[in-house]
Each structure stands twice: as C-alpha cells, then as structure tokens.
Symmetry: C2
Subunit: 235 residues, 2 copies
Amino acid sequence: MKALAFDVFGTVVDWRSSVIAELEAFGESHGLQRDWPAFADSWRAGYVPAMARVRRGELPWTRIDDLHRAILVDLLVAADIRVTDAEIDHLNRAWHRLDPWPDSVPGLARLKQRYIITTLSNGNVSLLTNMAKHAGLPWDCVISAELFRHYKPDPEAYRGCAELLDIAPAELTLVAAHPSDLRAARAAGLGTAYVARPMEYGPDRPPHGVDRDVAPDDFDIVATDFVDLADQLGA
Amino acid sequence: MKALAFDVFGTVVDWRSSVIAELEAFGESHGLQRDWPAFADSWRAGYVPAMARVRRGELPWTRIDDLHRAILVDLLVAADIRVTDAEIDHLNRAWHRLDPWPDSVPGLARLKQRYIITTLSNGNVSLLTNMAKHAGLPWDCVISAELFRHYKPDPEAYRGCAELLDIAPAELTLVAAHPSDLRAARAAGLGTAYVARPMEYGPDRPPHGVDRDVAPDDFDIVATDFVDLADQLGA
C-alpha cells in the first residue's frame, strides 16, 4: 500500500452537524423557524438520486455544487422561503465549510507521515479545496470525481485515482464509512478500509448504507476512527 | 485575486542543482565520471521540444515522467552508460525529488494564509504530489496540465485551472519565473506575478526565456522571491 484515498462526506467531515448549524444561522439571520435537521437530511437525501441521473446519462456532467444548489432551491420553495440568489449561493457553500470529526485531522497528520493521502470524493475540486482550508485537512493532493467526470461508484473514479497517482489499484486503499463505496473500490482492484461513523446521520438514525449482509470484516481493514487506522497501519 | 497558481520547475524548485546532485550520486554509485551539469542541462533542454510534439499532436498525450524518461534513455545511450530499467526509473524520478528555493516554503506558508495556493505545472500529478511531500510544499491542491491534457502555454491549461477552482480567470494569478508562461496566462485572462530566479540555469547562464523586449514591469506584480511576493500582497 502506497496511498490512501479518502471518501470525504461522512467519512472525514460531519456534514450533518455542520449543515444544521449553517441552516440555523441562516434561519436566525432571516427570522425563520423551520425543522433544520430535517431540512439538512432532505438536502443530503437529494444528493444520491441527483448523481444517479448524471451517472445514467440523463443529465450532462454536473458538479456537486450545482446539484446541491438545485436541491436547495427546491427545498426553499417547498419551505416557502424566499431569499436572494447571493444568499442561496452562500448557503449552498455550507458544503465547503464542513467541520471534521474530532479524530480526522490528528489521524490524517499521522497517516501522511507514511502514505500519500488524497481525497477521492464526489465533491468538486473547489469544494474539497475550500473545505481543506476551512477544516485544516492536510491532503497531499485533491482528487475528485470531477476530474474523471464519473461519480463514485463508477469504476472510472477509483481507477482514475490510482492512475493519477501512478500506482497500481492494489497499491491504493479507499478509506470510507460506506460499504457501498468500499465494495465498488474493491471491485475496481483497490484495498478497502472501513471506518465506522455511527453518528453520520445523527443520534437517532442508524448508519446509512450498511447492508445487513455485509459484515465490516469483509474489508481489509476495519477501524473505529482515523487514529485507530493510523495505529493499525503503524503510522 | 482569490488564488495563486504556481509554475513549479524553476519557479518553486531549483531543478538544476537537484538533478545535478542526483546525477552525481548516480555516477558515484556506478563508478562513472561525466559532465553531470551538462547532462542535466541536456535533459532539461529536451523537455520543451518533447512537449511541443504533444502540443502539436505529433504524439498522443504523454506524461512528463514518460517524456523525461525517453530523453534520459537517449542521453544515457549517447553517454555510453548501460544500467537496468529499474535504475533508469529511479534516476528518472529525480524530478519528483527536487529541492525548493530557500524562500519557497516560508513564502508559500504566508501566501496560503490569505489565498488558495495551487500548482499549475506541466509536471504530472504524481510527480507534483511526490515533490510536495519531499520538499514540504504546502499546496491547497495539486493542479497539473495532465488534468486538461494540454501543456502550458496552451490556453486550456490556464482556463482549466480557474474552472477547477470555480473562479474567474481574472481572480487567478499565475506566479512564474518565465515570461513566456506569464504572457500566455495573461492572454487567457489571468493575472501575472513574475518572480526572478536568476540562478535557474546555473551561475554562468542568463535566465532562459527572458526576452529582451519584455520588461518585467509588463506584469501585474514583479517580485524578487516568494517572501517579497508575500510582502507585496500583504500576506
């Protein structure tokens, strides 16, 4: 193993708490009261179907920023909220300002000493770059589905990442909290490291995407967080 | 201005001293004596013509690593040096292990506090990523001509960089020691920052590519090094 590629939303950053906090601040500044946790969950829930439309070719290549914005506009209309385009743009960029899980930065700092660490996210390059600056994520490089115009779990994204790093797929391990992502990475020839993020969908909901028929030990590495991952890898 | 894109070879790293040192170590380990500074200069001199063949479409897209290797193999044959493929591979990756100019890391660290800082180099992503790790270059992201399959000075490289960062070309400034690179960036709509690197081609040769008819003050910023650039930008 030469490099670790990290899924980002949910695996590195706590998107739900961050987006709820942004929505609460937005609500407060506009004197609006809504169920912001539910709004955040709906925003996120629109993401996979929107990407699926791109993956199936029903939409031309579209960045996550633009998919997020289209979902947001629909949700604002449904919630009877009217704000300016600039305010929508700012709110949409909440996804550029997500906060890391507490172990993410210290774990990445250790892993970086021994391996190349890169993003491999469906987030666009500018989103990932701004997020890294906001959250202090010490990536060696920023690799995105945008570079391949193929969203995960398309195999082009996993293989393209290894190709850009000029290593064999087997020399690259995907780190993710989502078994579906890891299974697709494995099918593309990558190693797999599952990191549990039980709070991704909040305190009241089980982790999304954990199929009952896929035990975590199907993966090469199973870790409780990034510090545990660094421990297991001797980094 | 929101982001600074840096040319790398010559602007950020002192390729010539680094490659000469690698060649000297290679020579010593093989009991070979050659004019290694001249060998380094010939290696570098092969680079622009090789890229030009790609730019004109005479060669399909080819990474710098592969162009460097083809030039190296020819030079080794001409110098009557026979080594294994693995040794050639290792020597070729000297370009992944280039050392920065003394002001590069402290200057970049300051500039990063205020701006997005990215590479915009003809070096491939893996070369730039390995180099950043070797040299401690604190890039926010690693952008390469490889991502656009267009070498600088093709306009696609400059515009593609702004597009990936999701900013207007005018919000992006190219930092380079080479007027030809800066002129192409300006033609593509970018801002320009010239940084003098008088030692790039060694103590005995004037800077390459400085046309007599282009005074440095044709550019938006003219700096003596990256620390001066940070001073001028209030970073």
